[in-house]
């Protein structure tokens, strides 16, 4: 008996050693030649939270992808640079990624103005840039360049979904407040056009300075206007400041808020004050499809946190990128560009198509209301309406809608 066991052990050891030797060259080759993805994101500064979400999703995706054998049999490698949310720094740091680290695939840029500053450089960098969250409608319209793709829901698409929902809502008079940045202006412009189209009245619109702290004059203005609904295109620190101060004025008892982006980080900070908040969602964590369930489970197992919209959009962008690399059979940027055009992927947000005419990803539109969901430990955005991507995606190379 002992002799047989000894023999079996020897055979097993031999088999393990042989398979390790057989796998070693491929493994070493893969390690030596990873697919490099440059992530010029915000690590310090006002948008650091969004940058930290981008980075954590990249790390999770690397773990998941490498465990499955990588992309084209090669591991993925993410290289991070801190842009501080400043377009000039973003261009400089991305240049470092391109020239020093030979990164020709770029993603994870936080601020739309940073993305806009990068577009004219893509050709000389020989790079391809896939947006995970840049909202400014112009990026796939008048600023279009062939090496840029947008996987995410843009600001006009978010405003469109909300306007479609508001068509049948009881509120008739609206006010809009947005951050005086590229994304905020794009959102407000789109909302104004859409809300008027569905026959509602936009009484006034406000542009609050970027990184504004005191919203009392705007809240007083909203109170004075007598509107029933308020469209809010603020995010991050600005959104939390606005909602915190609006709550102190009890504004939500008089006016229903409709936000351009429902962010889990804001819900977490606002706590019970966030309950009832409605808005468009770039990524609804509660979307009940197998792809999303798998992502949410993996994310929560890794980080013990509910993924935010940035996590979901970053994950979707990377899934689209990997599908394009697989289709191209290469990580050469122009081959990725060709493969990504008309590429269809079912992601955490359902079916997405990267249309050829302007490289905008056709995403479904989600409208959510913040409430309690027994699957999650804190309030989340619960889906109240899903609009098909044909209805939410703007006209080609445009930030507006002809229908």
């Amino acid at each position: 008996m002992t002799q047989h066991t000894e023999t079996r052990r020897r055979i097993l050891k031999g088999a393990v050693a042989a398979s390790a030797l057989a796998a070693a060259p491929a493994y070493l080759k893969a390690q030596a030649n990873p697919i490099k993805i440059g992530i010029p994101t915000v690590i310090t500064g006002g948008y650091a939270l969004l940058g930290s979400q981008v980075m954590r999703t990249c790390r999770l995706v690397k773990k998941m992808t490498d465990a499955r054998g990588g992309v084209l049999g090669r591991p993925v490698e993410f290289l991070f640079q801190d842009t501080q949310g400043d377009p000039a720094i973003c261009v400089r740091k991305t240049q470092e990624l391109v020239e020093r680290d030979n990164c020709r695939i770029l993603s994870g840029v936080i601020v739309s103005s940073e993305a806009a500053a990068m577009l004219p450089k893509l050709e000389s960098w020989s790079a391809v840039f896939l947006s995970h969250g840049n909202g400014d409608g112009r990026l796939t319209a008048e600023l279009f360049v062939p090496r840029f793709f947008r996987a995410n829901t843009s600001a006009p698409m978010g405003a469109r979904a909300l306007a479609l929902y508001l068509k049948d809502a009881p509120q008739k008079k609206f006010m809009a407040i947005a951050s005086d940045a590229a994304w905020g202006r794009s959102s407000n412009t789109a909302f104004e056009a859409q809300i008027k189209r569905v026959g509602k009245d936009l009484v006034d619109k406000i542009y609050a300075p970027v990184a504004n702290k005191d919203y009392s004059p705007y809240i007083t203005k909203i109170l004075q206007s007598g509107v029933e609904g308020c469209y809010v295109a603020l995010q991050g620190d600005e959104a939390r400041a606005f909602y915190s101060q609006a709550q102190q004025y009890r504004l939500s008892q008089r006016v229903q808020f409709f936000t351009e982006i429902v962010a889990q980080a804001d819900i977490k900070v606002l706590g019970k004050d966030a309950i009832g908040l409605m808005g468009s969602s770039r990524y609804p964590v509660t979307y009940d499809i197998p792809q999303n369930k798998a992502f949410v489970d993996a994310f929560m197992a890794e980080y013990k946190e509910i993924p935010d919209w940035t996590d979901g959009e970053m994950y979707q962008a990377l899934m689209i990128l990997f599908a394009a690399i697989q289709k191209a059979g290469s990580d050469e940027p122009m081959k990725i560009v060709a493969a990504m055009e008309e590429l269809e992927v079912t992601s955490v947000k359902g079916p997405v198509k990267m249309r050829k005419c302007d490289h905008q990803g056709e995403n479904q539109g989600f409208v959510v209301r913040v409430g309690h969901d027994k699957r999650f430990s804190e309030p989340v955005g619960e889906i109240v309406k899903i609009y098909p991507r044909e209805m939410t995606t703007p006209d080609c190379r445009s930030a507006s809608y002809s229908t």
Binding site: G46, A48, L49, Q245
Partner: protein
């Protein structure tokens, strides 16, 4: 809502904003007045106050405890920094060393805050007792903002009276005017400097705790506030305590009314005010031209 109630609401909003600005600007101006140091770390100290206040409130369950603990902790950190790093440099004549040192403190503190509390913003809830609204001429106004106005007013009067009517206040004013003479008369000038630096940091921390229920505690919350504070100090006059009060009120009003009536120029108006003041009085409203 009539025009009078609207204007009153905006004025109260401006005063509550001025109260927050005062807490950060008065520390900045006192430090400059005594030590001739432009403290670049003041905005981060304001942010540190908000985070320490958040933790104090979380542990104790009391906003009042946060209002006491945060200034004490941050004031002590400020005193330690002054004692260890700034004191050895007082003999030097070049101001560049102080700028670099306080800038370095800002960077180090920012990173420490990120490491300790993480990138996730922290919510410091408005205390229950201050959560409601009062109707002023049919216009709702938050009690918390009235509390800010009251506290800012009380702190302003208290510090002013301290500087004007106590022996310690007399020493501080004397050091700001001629530190060599005060030292020759047997007063420990270094101790006065340490105390004033700590007090300035404590006031900024108090401002941070008070601002947290309005904006939450987040990385970078001090970046813009400190610019406002510098503008206030320049408008009021570098080193002038009363000037910092007047400057805070002026900037508060310009920000609130500018945001309402001149949306596109809201940011520029504050700097325009500063330019006008500097043209008319180059040393600031209550400062001395050097």
């Amino acid at each position: 809502m009539n025009f009078a109630s609207f204007i009153l609401a905006q004025c109260l909003g401006a005063l509550s904003q001025a109260a927050i600005l005062f807490f950060i600007a008065c520390g900045l101006t006192l430090i400059f007045g005594i030590m001739r140091i432009v403290n670049f770390a003041h905005g981060v100290i304001f942010m540190l106050g908000a985070y320490v206040g958040y933790t104090a409130a979380l542990v104790s369950g009391s906003f009042v405890v946060a209002l006491i603990v945060a200034p004490l902790v941050v004031g002590a950190i400020g005193m330690a920094f002054e004692w260890i790093f700034l004191r050895p440099l007082y003999g030097r004549r070049d101001g560049g060393a102080y700028l670099l040192l306080t800038f370095g403190l800002a960077v180090v503190l920012s990173e420490l805050i990120r490491i300790i509390w993480g990138a996730q913003p922290r919510s410091l809830a408005t205390p229950e007792a201050l959560l409601g609204i009062v109707m002023i001429l049919d216009q709702p106004f938050p009690i918390y903002r009235l509390f800010l106005i009251g506290l800012g007013l009380a702190a302003g009067i208290a510090v002013w009276q301290f500087l004007e009517r106590t022996r310690a206040g007399l020493l501080i004013r004397a050091v700001s005017q001629n530190s060599e003479m005060v030292h020759a008369l047997g007063t420990d000038v270094d101790l006065v400097r340490t105390a004033v630096f700590g007090f300035g940091c404590a006031m900024a921390a108090l401002g941070g705790v008070l601002a947290a229920p309005l904006v939450t505690a987040f990385l970078g919350m001090g970046a813009n506030v400190v610019i406002d504070a510098f503008v206030i100090v320049i408008i009021g006059g570098m080193g002038s305590f009363l000037g910092s009060i007047i400057g805070s009120v002026l900037v508060g009003f310009v920000q609130v009314f500018g945001a309402y009536y001149f949306q596109d120029l809201a940011l520029a108006l504050m700097y325009l005010l500063m330019l006008v003041v500097l043209v008319v009085r180059p040393g600031g409203l209550l400062g001395k031209e050097e």
